[in-house]
């Protein structure tokens, strides 16, 4: 006996279904059911994953939706409550199945309609059926408007509603469901939100009779929400969460656990009971059984034919080539159906696209911009090879589309850079998608595009972060809402959310839930048990004890059951999809909050469906460089073309080798600065290698030491075989790149690069090693290599194949690295203006500012007449320096900044107050940081008698405020009053150095006028502290003291599991990096994490000519040290120095438990888990 379930919710019915589509498919397979429908609520979020799982398992997929009906009386749908959370209002619903390609189109439109208008009506269904010419089956059940009216005893109303559905053009079926629950009749006046479904056998029997009377064929379903009885509790939690209440008899939908994916025998039993209760005979029951299975088989979806899986859908060639904007539409659900383009049309267009692509490449390849070190024949061969693969795969339109998107961005003056393997394609380079010429860097196309894989390759583009949405807009304008949508992303339950929602559902106190949830690291919900036993801080807690006693089992089980269930749908942070005009027929779309409509499909689905997916990533460094370039143009009149720089500039490499790379892309972290110091990159290729080596894999397996040894000539490089020299030479014999693995495999075995890339991919999967090995050895030996060589290469491939890095990817990263270093070398002021405005890196701004001073870039304070919204380059005392922007002032609003910029210049504080719209607080803060010094001739470091001071200005500011509050009154009385006269000197003292510094730290978050440590200088001398610029003079293994402002702490995960804390300090002469190992952490970690000015004791270790590292053995709050010193000695009087030093020594040797670190309000340093090294 066979049975097909036609009404099944997966977990993609958000907060409703309990099981993942593959689990449902597996259950259907085990129960020997030939086909299975998934009919999720409201959307097709899980449809593609379900179809794939079903096809893989050999179960035939059927697609449907369970959609809410638009309540035309109250027009209510889900309403937000509790800070934006939506509450399910339990609207009536119908089930709709789609047949074939048109049916799938109809489902997409129905889901779009649900998102766009809140639900469907018979009229909406009718319109969609007419637009899509689809055959759809409509299942009217207990939860439909018809069923609800019937259940409430309103028979004629039910019959009337049934008729409107019958006129919609859908095939209407009556749905019989019995969960064998107790028959509870609903009351006639029950409204939507308190309607209780009655899945009793008697109710099903009554409904069947009604369908018979109205001549509607009936089908049997089980309204499935969970695979198995044991999953039933999960939906109680979901019901409560969806309704924002705690679990109770009122909140849960079910009264038993019969709504699971029952076997055919069990379903037959259910049908028998209904039929017995209804007084029907076996023939009638068999008819229902047959109706169900026939409908199911008829509506089976063919993934290729109906969904278009396996084909590629990119914009039509004429749309790509036309340069006029395409229309945007408000609503998607009722757009006309697109014309189906048959294979012939697509093929003809592909031929045309090939020609366009070829001519575009050939038009530019001769120009000097694209010159290479290779011969013309070699270049031509490469182009032909790429074009032929592109043509074979039919992807020419894809490349043209991406090029168009890149051009759209460039036309708006937005910097664009390709990232990832796309940089390996010469065609990408010629089209302007990637700035790097792959021919000059040994990049192969096969890593990116292979004739052996027919899915669209990924091209990720990096753009200026603050202009990313502009590109979305541009793409939407250009290709229209019929072809563009954002990719979606499921936000799924992890342990913290699961604990919160289970806790709330079980009515635990909110405060307790919060404490428990926060005690967990961000792990998967299913890992809760392991975390409770493995994590020392949890295992030792009360929670751990409860768990050990088994008291938490029930709670834990519920948390686990929510693992990976979707919670919310969100817009993917960077994914955009493009399609031909069939987009709205092949995916539902809904509003995303941003301008751009969002598909129901996530990034994997989008790939499966053959849409063109672009990742448009916002990169702050691109914004920073763009700002730098425009500052150079503004101040020096030079138009720098970053993408056309000579990549062999000696000065730039000198800067990189000096390790003074703060602010440079990718090479500014302490670990990278150390590596750069040892490595001393001298070519662009070296930068690519450096970036590839600085990753967890190579660091863990210590690929760096053999590489450096060979590179510096300390050990001879090992190439294993003369035929491999050309492949391994660039990395001195060490396999670093994916591209090298590909070339090695091809060279040894004689296979093509494309095949070699397949081999490389297999190396990532240990299970496939045996198979690859079985092919690799004979092929290598046949190809003339000794077994020893093959053996050695195999050992390398096996070990490093998975660690290697894609050279094209590293190359794409190396470009902004070089560009930023170039800017720092040649236009430091503009560079810092960019970096400080867009803050792309890991360091706090105050350190970057300090770095700027080291590079002789002076810093000018905020000035109401000079400062704008961004950091700008300005000549200060004959040198190019930086002007701080108004926006750095704490608490200043966007509007205030604009009003100052628009009304500048100002003649006085009165003028500023009168003509700009700023608050008193902002005015006072401007005074405090010296923004009015210039206007009023104030020089706090050299106050002159008779001149007002900042303090005078503060007093005056408060007079101005009083005047403004009085002015309202005066205006009404038609008096004209004058502003208080200009500020005068009242003899108030000027702010002293410490006060100015404190104001800057509080209001700007950085020390602008002087370095924080300046006032400590005498003490530092007395304590014989080693400064950063003296560090290289220290001998190996000597104990030293260093001081500094804390810049960053990092705690990278280390293989041994032991924690290392990396501390970066700034002591005004440069950055200092100190590592604290576990033995010292316990005593000093409180100081380390809470103080911001530190005295550190450490031991030096030389790592190379320019490398020296410090192992921390102690650390103290510098402010405290000063207090202790000054309690005994006066810094200025040498006589007491010895006593002071003695006191400090004593303090340092005392255990730490009494030390209370001084706190600082504004965040001056950076904390992160960091990357290794």
């Amino acid at each position: 006996m066979e049975f097909i379930h036609l009404h099944v919710a997966s977990n993609y019915s958000i907060r409703y279904g309990a099981n993942h589509p593959p689990d449902l498919v597996e259950a259907a397979l085990l129960a020997e059911q030939p086909a299975l429908a998934v009919t999720d609520r409201d959307g097709l979020f899980g449809a593609i994953k379900f179809v794939q799982a079903a096809v893989a398992a050999g179960v035939k997929p059927i697609l449907g939706l369970e959609l809410p009906l638009l309540d035309t009386q109250s027009l209510r749908t889900a309403t937000p409550r509790f800070g934006g959370e939506t509450r399910d209002l339990n609207p009536a619903r119908v089930l709709i199945l789609g047949k074939g390609r048109n049916g799938f189109t109809a489902l997409n439109r129905l889901a779009s309609a649900t998102a766009e208008i809140g639900g469907i009506t018979p009229a909406v269904l009718q319109e969609i059926i007419e637009i899509t010419e689809a055959e759809v089956a409509l299942l009217i059940g207990q939860n439909s408007d018809v069923g609800r009216a019937f259940g409430a005893g309103k028979l004629s109303q039910a019959a009337g509603l049934l008729n409107t559905w019958r006129n919609s053009g859908a095939r209407v079926y009556g749905e019989l469901v019995s969960h064998q629950s107790r028959d509870v009749r609903s009351t006639p006046n029950s409204n939507s939100s308190n309607f209780r479904i009655n899945y009793s056998t008697s109710a099903a029997a009554r409904l069947w009779k009604f369908f018979e009377t109205n001549q509607i064929p009936a089908v049997l379903t089980n309204a499935v929400r969970y695979v198995d009885r044991k999953n039933a509790k999960t939906i109680d939690i979901l019901d409560a969460t969806r309704r924002l209440v705690t679990v109770s008899e009122k909140s849960v939908d079910r009264v038993n656990a019969e709504g699971y994916l029952k076997s055919a025998d069990e379903m037959w039993q259910v049908l028998n009971e209904i039929s017995y209760t209804a007084g029907c005979d076996i023939a009638a029951a068999s008819q229902v059984w047959q109706n169900t299975n026939q409908l199911g088989m008829e509506f089976v979806i063919d993934p290729a034919e109906d969904l278009g899986i396996g084909k590629v859908f990119v914009p039509e060639l004429d749309v790509i080539l036309q340069s006029k904007p395409t229309a945007r539409y408000e609503l998607a659900w009722n757009r006309p159906k697109s014309k189906y383009r048959d294979d012939e049309t697509i093929k003809a267009e592909a031929v045309q696209a090939d020609a366009v692509l070829r001519s575009r490449c050939e038009a530019v390849m001769g120009s000097p911009r694209f010159s290479t070190g290779l011969t013309e024949t070699e270049v031509r061969e490469r182009l032909e090879a790429e074009l032929s693969v592109i043509s074979k795969l039919g992807f020419a339109s894809y490349f043209l589309t991406v090029a168009e998107v890149v051009n759209l961005s460039k036309a708006r003056g937005i910097r664009v850079a390709a990232r990832g393997s796309g940089a390996g394609s010469y065609v990408n380079h010629l089209l302007g998608i990637s700035a790097l010429n792959p021919l000059n860097h040994g990049l192969v196309m096969e890593r990116f595009l292979s004739p052996l894989r027919s899915s669209l390759p990924d091209i990720d583009i990096d753009v200026e972060s603050h202009r990313r949405l502009e590109i979305y807009e541009a793409v939407l304008d250009r290709f229209g809402t019929d072809r563009v949508a954002a990719v979606s992303m499921m936000d799924t339950y992890r342990v913290r959310h699961a604990i919160r929602d289970v806790g709330k559902a079980l009515a635990m106190p909110a405060a307790e839930i919060g404490i428990i949830a926060k005690a967990f690291p961000r792990v998967r919900a299913r890992d809760i048990r392991r975390t409770l036993t493995d994590l020392p801080e949890l295992a030792g807690s009360g929670l751990g004890a409860l768990h050990k006693n088994g008291k938490l089992n029930h709670f834990i089980e519920l948390v686990e059951s929510l693992d990976a269930l979707p919670r919310n749908v969100a817009m993917h942070p960077c994914g955009v999809l493009l399609s031909d005009s069939s987009l709205l027929d092949r995916t539902p779309v809904q509003s995303s909050g941003a301008e751009i409509p969002m598909s129901h499909f996530d990034k994997d689905d989008v790939e499966t469906m053959g849409f063109l997916k672009l990742d448009i990533l916002g990169i702050r460094m691109q914004s920073a460089m763009s700002h730098a370039v425009s500052e150079i143009a503004r101040t020096a009149g030079v138009q720098v073309e970053l993408d056309e720089l000579d990549l062999a500039d000696t000065e730039t490499f000198k800067l990189i080798q000096s390790t003074k790379t703060l602010g440079c892309f990718q090479i500014e972290s302490p670990g990278q600065r150390e590596l750069v110091g040892k490595f001393a990159p001298s070519t662009f290729n070296d930068i690519i290698i450096d970036i590839s080596l600085f990753r967890p894999g190579p660091i863990k397996s210590d690929m760096i030491t053999p590489f450096l040894n060979a590179k510096h000539g300390w050990n001879p490089p090992e190439y294993l075989h003369p035929r491999l020299v050309s492949i391994l030479q660039e990395t001195s014999g060490v396999v670093v790149f994916h591209e090298q693995v590909i070339k090695l495999v091809a060279e040894i075995t004689g296979c093509s690069l494309a095949e070699a890339d397949e081999v490389r991919r297999s190396l990532g999967d240990r299970d496939k090693h045996r198979e690859v090995r079985g092919w690799f050895y004979p092929a290598g030996i046949r190809n003339g290599f000794d077994i020893d060589v093959v053996d050695e290469i195999w050992a390398i491939l096996r070990a490093f194949g998975s660690f290697g890095f894609c050279k094209a990817h590293a190359g794409a990263f190396a470009l902004p690295t070089y560009q930023s270093a170039w800017l720092k070398t040649h236009y430091p002021a503009a560079f810092y203006a960019g970096i400080l405005t867009h803050d792309p890196g890991m360091y706090p701004k105050r350190l970057i500012l300090q770095d700027a001073r080291h590079f002789q870039v002076p810093i000018a304070p905020i000035d109401v007449n000079e400062s704008v919204a961004e950091y700008v380059v300005e000549e200060i005392d004959g040198v190019l320096g930086l002007r701080l922007p108004l926006s750095e002032l704490k608490g200043i609003s966007f509007d205030e900044v604009n009003s100052i910029i628009e009304s500048a210049p100002f003649r006085s504080i009165n003028d500023l107050w009168e003509r700009s719209e700023i608050s008193k607080t902002t005015l006072e803060r401007l005074v405090l940081v010296g923004a009015l010094d210039e206007v009023h001739g104030i020089n706090p470091h050299n106050p002159r008698a008779g001149r007002p001071t900042r303090r005078d200005l503060l007093v005056h500011a408060s007079d101005l405020e009083k005047f403004r509050s009085r002015k309202v009154l005066l205006d009404e009385m038609l008096f004209v009053d004058e502003l208080p006269v200009q500020p005068i000197s009242t003899g108030l003292a000027e702010l002293n150095k410490t006060e100015i510094l404190q104001a800057e730290l509080d209001l700007l978050g950085m020390d602008v006028s002087s370095h924080v440590l300046e006032s400590f200088e005498p003490l530092l001398k007395i304590l014989n502290v080693t400064r950063a610029n003296q560090l290289l003079e220290r001998r190996n293994n000597s104990e030293i003291f260093v001081v500094g402002v804390k810049v960053a702490t990092q705690m990278p995960p280390i293989r041994s599991g032991k924690r290392v804390i990396f501390l970066t300090l700034d002591d005004s002469t440069g950055p200092l990096d100190v590592a604290f190992f576990e033995d010292t952490q316990g005593v000093f970690s409180s100081q380390l994490f809470n103080s911001w000015l530190l005295l550190v004791r450490g031991v030096t270790r030389r790592t190379g000519p320019r490398g020296i590292s410090i192992r921390g053995t102690g650390c103290w709050d510098l402010n405290q040290v000063r207090e202790i010193y000054e309690a005994v000695a006066d810094v200025d009087f040498h006589s007491d120095q010895l006593a002071g030093i003695e006191a400090v020594n004593q303090f340092i040797q005392t255990p730490m438990d009494f030390a209370e670190p001084t706190q600082h309000s504004r965040k001056l340093w950076h904390t992160s888990p960091g990357s290794p090294g």
Partner: protein
């Protein structure tokens, strides 16, 4: 007609899972007719032990409302079968309600 919830373990003779006769207060009743049949679970969130097995698995109750007869007369009663996924009981049957 009054409801008397009782829930006591009883001996039941059944055929294909359907009760045919049962023993209550040392008297055998034979089932004349099944009036209703339904399936229930308890509110697990109220008590983790009462409505669940030792391992937390929910217990399903299959309930028959039957008309039964003994020498002393006829009764209408709800008798329930305890159905657990993970454990079986020596006395799975309960008499939970008698209407007389």
């Amino acid at each position: 007609m009054s409801k008397r919830p009782i829930a006591i373990e009883i001996d039941v003779q059944s055929e294909a899972g359907i009760p045919k006769s049962f023993n209550w207060k040392n008297r055998w009743y034979s089932v004349q007719q099944v009036l209703m049949f339904w399936v229930e679970v308890g509110p697990w969130w109220k008590s983790t032990t009462e409505f669940a097995d030792s391992d937390g698995a929910e217990i399903t109750w299959r309930i028959w409302r039957i008309e039964a007869k003994s020498e002393s007369g006829a009764v209408i009663a709800d008798i329930a079968f305890r159905d657990s996924l993970t454990s079986s009981s020596a006395y799975p049957w309960r008499l939970i309600r008698v209407f007389d």
